[in-house]
């Protein structure tokens, strides 16, 4: 595995992106970044601008107005980039599967690497998911 990919796995800077969620998953992501759970020991830092990020933490079922904006934002991330879908809404839209405003699930819009189910998932679950992502990418 190349050195820069190894470095990416040891220092993933996350960017928090909400595509029309109820904000519960956003609150849990915010909790995850507090000193209590200490994600800095994995090298995870919250990136202020999307151009500084390596991992996108996407919450919410993508509604029609967010689709074009999400595509533009995904283009602005410098590759290589990993995408984590947090919550049931980001996975499959959950209870909003028949909603008039959520036509397609998130992975039809951008490629998703890891899904973390839960409504909302606990911060421990989010950390476990990110660690599993790092192991999965580290193994090829």
């Amino acid at each position: 595995m190349s050195m820069t990919l190894k470095a990416l796995l040891k220092s993933p800077w996350v960017f928090h992106l909400s595509t029309g969620s109820c904000n519960n998953c956003d609150i849990e992501v915010l909790d995850c970044l507090t000193p209590r759970f200490d994600v800095e020991r994995f090298g995870i830092l919250l990136a202020g601008s999307i151009r500084h990020s390596d991992v996108l933490l996407v919450t919410g079922s993508c509604n029609r107005m967010s689709v074009e904006r999400l595509k533009k934002l995904y283009d602005q991330v410098p590759k290589p980039c990993l995408v984590v879908g947090i919550g049931t809404c980001a996975g499959s839209r959950g209870v909003f599967i028949d909603s008039y405003n959520c036509p397609v699930p998130l992975d039809h819009i951008i490629p998703v690497d890891v899904y973390i189910p839960g409504c909302p998932p606990k911060p421990e679950a989010i950390i476990a998911g990110v660690v599993k992502l790092i192991q999965k990418v580290g193994n090829g």
Partner: protein
């Protein structure tokens, strides 16, 4: 041929400063973690950050002035490397110190901020322009107290603007921080260094929650890596400079090495603790602070030094 100058530039000015800068950045993050009662990042984390950034693609925004955008980080890095070379030259071979190198260091230390300002304005982004203009206001306000504070060691060493003379007068008479004017000037200098490094409480230019990392918002990949490296190296160079001016320099023989390391880490830990225990101030409050109380303190220190205290 005199090989000292190129060796000094590359090995001591760039490589050693980069290494020590990354270690200083780790010390800063570790002390922050300890203050927040958690475990911090591992030792190699700042190096891994830079290596990772070198592997990402560098995106230049459409309509940005490409040359200025990509050269601005190098301008910042050049300023830090040059000032570090002069400081290491003074330490290793005091005969290379020349009259006026105090002035050279002071203006070279403004170049990294100019790099950030240039990069921010070249980004074609309103938030970046806002951050760059805040950085300009901050530079205009802290430069005066910084120069006043740095005048105190010059006065106390008999009016010589040669760093070698300042160091030797401290060896003879005791560190500058031992006197009343010296300690006031040290306080003023530490506050100005917080602003130079754009650390809380004076990080309005790069305020994360407000303007999304300010002037660096459009930077990615290798350009951002150079900026981060320049900032980490500045985190090493500024306490180093402060140690030379106020704390009696760094002697590198035998047991003195431990004392030198403690002096350096002490200043660094002070900067980190100030960073962790203060809220961010607005840019107008910061400029008023530097033009008001801090400048008056600096002037008072100069007057006390002229009176011999």
């Amino acid at each position: 041929m005199n090989y000292f100058y190129p060796v000094n530039l590359i090995v001591f000015g760039f490589l050693l400063t980069a290494l020590l800068g990354l270690i200083s950045s780790w010390v800063d993050r570790k002390v922050t973690a300890m203050v927040q009662y958690r475990v911090g990042p591992p030792l190699l984390q700042p190096l891994v950050d830079i290596v990772k950034l070198l592997g990402k693609e560098t995106l230049v925004p459409a309509g940005a002035s490409r040359g200025a955008f990509l050269l601005a980080p190098l301008v910042g890095l050049a300023g830090v490397v040059a000032s570090s070379t002069v400081l290491w030259g003074n330490l290793l071979r005091p005969s290379t110190s020349f009259a006026g190198d105090w002035i050279v260091i002071l203006y070279l230390l403004t170049v990294p901020s100019l790099g950030i300002i240039l990069g921010g304005f070249a980004s074609r982004n309103p938030l970046a322009s806002l951050g760059a203009s805040r950085e300009m206001k901050l530079v205009l306000s802290y430069e005066l107290p910084f120069v006043l504070a740095m005048l105190v060691p010059v006065i106390r060493s008999g009016g010589s603007i040669r760093l070698g003379d300042i160091l030797s007068s401290q060896f003879a008479n005791g560190a500058n921080a031992g006197s009343l004017s010296g300690i006031i000037a040290l306080v003023v200098a530490v506050l100005c260094i917080q602003a130079k490094l754009a650390l809380v409480p004076f990080d309005a230019p790069e305020a994360e929650t407000e303007i999304v990392s300010g002037p660096l918002i459009e930077y990615s990949g290798a350009a951002l890596a150079v900026y981060r490296l320049a900032k980490n190296m500045l985190l090493f160079v500024l306490p180093f400079f402060l140690g030379i001016m106020f704390l009696g320099g760094f002697r590198l023989h035998g047991i003195e090495i431990l004392w030198s390391v403690l002096k350096f880490v002490g200043v660094l830990a002070l900067i980190t603790v100030i960073r962790n225990t203060n809220p961010r101030v607005r840019i107008d409050q910061a400029t008023r602070f530097f033009w008001g109380p801090v400048a008056i303190l600096g002037a008072a220190a100069v007057v006390l030094a002229l009176l011999g205290l």
